[in-house]
Symmetry: C2
Subunit: 227 residues, 2 copies
């Protein structure tokens, strides 16, 4: 099984078209679509499909990898950075992440990978894990390091801080989306969530005063201690 492992990007235009169809079908039907349906919609023959991707698993894997390769995160120039830039950078990161997470494509991919992880049918879970949470923390870590080097934040444990950031940003959005809840946050809702999460994160890990938002999160950036 898993005959052909495409070196990731020597995919022809036609092959990418097919994968796009597969992705659409994943969004519409989850794991339930058949190879025949792919062929019908993509106007290609089964034989070609099997020649290109080996078997169904190969097709799924190729689709997931191809899609995962498209996800990119906003970065941050290294060197000294101002508090405002740092904060904006975190917010941009959070907005980006939340937008991806709450999207139908991400949900479809995660659903697929999760159900396969349960059946031990393939390594899709591993792939999505690597391109999801792990990629996020991987991209976020250098940003955190820049912040720390600039004296804006400090961590006892970088990993714990990354987990905390993840939790504050994602909250229960992802699990609810995956379980089929239809209410999707508006772009402004995402923005608000991201700002609140970053504000809270900076309360927990920030060392210097960073421009506070007007109304996000707990409103007050720090509770008025003592009753």
């Amino acid at each position: 099984m898993n005959a052909i492992v495409q070196p990731e990007s020597d995919l022809s235009q036609r092959q990418r078209e097919v994968l796009a169809v597969v992705l659409d079908l994943m969004v519409e039907e989850g794991d339930a679509f058949s190879m025949a349906k792919v062929c019908r919609r993509a106007s290609c023959s089964k034989e070609t499909l099997y020649n290109w991707f080996g078997d169904r698993d190969g097709l799924l894997t190729a689709t997931v990898q191809w899609q995962a390769a498209k996800v990119r995160m906003p970065g941050l120039r290294s060197g000294q950075v101002s508090p405002a830039d740092f904060r904006d950078s975190l917010i941009a990161f959070a907005v980006n992440w939340l937008t991806v997470i709450t999207g139908d494509v991400s949900a479809a991919l995660n659903r697929l990978a999760i159900s396969h992880a349960g059946s031990g049918k393939s390594r899709l879970g591993e792939i999505v894990l690597k391109n999801g949470p792990l990629a996020m923390t991987g991209r976020l870590r250098p940003i955190f390091e820049i912040g720390a080097a600039s004296g804006l934040v400090s961590f006892d444990s970088m990993d714990a801080a990354l987990k905390t950031f993840f939790g504050l940003v994602v909250g229960d959005w992802q699990i609810r989306k995956l379980l089929g809840e239809t209410t999707r946050p508006s772009p402004s809702g995402i923005e608000t969530t991201a700002e609140r999460a970053v504000t809270q994160f900076l309360v927990l890990y920030g060392t210097a005063q960073i421009p506070a938002p007007m109304e996000a999160g707990n409103t007050r950036t720090k509770p008025t201690h003592g009753k």
Copy 2:
């Protein structure tokens, strides 16, 4: 389809035995197990199975509901409460939740519900959602209210606070578990995570000084502001 909707608890001992077998199979194989396999392992006939549960969906639904009914959360006596009690209560809650979430049974149930939510095959997603995150916040809300009434915490938005608590506690544990990551936190790791999450939560939302832990979380409960 979905012929018989068991009023939730008029299940015979024998029926519960069968559901236990189904649950085991879910943990082992995800959604891939067949009705025949259930019968073989439970030593019952297909006909009986279909008489009792209508169809495959009915069996799955019954299993999920039966299992969901078993989950209970630690509560908190109402009335005035001490800071230490409040904090311990939150920690107990978090430990309980993390233990459930990272367990194989919960993972199997969530995987099942998630994959069905993707295919629109049934209402399992809705059921798990109601007995998962929503049940958690439902149980947590009164605890928060007691805390607020006792002047220990204050919220601008109760919903936002619940989301924050969820995020701080769960982090990325659940999604990683669902995606098949095998490393499971030890009981002491869960304890540590829970304490750190609660400490952070109280930093964000607490009004009064609450006994700080020795070393949990960011170590210092509040960063020494200003460089």
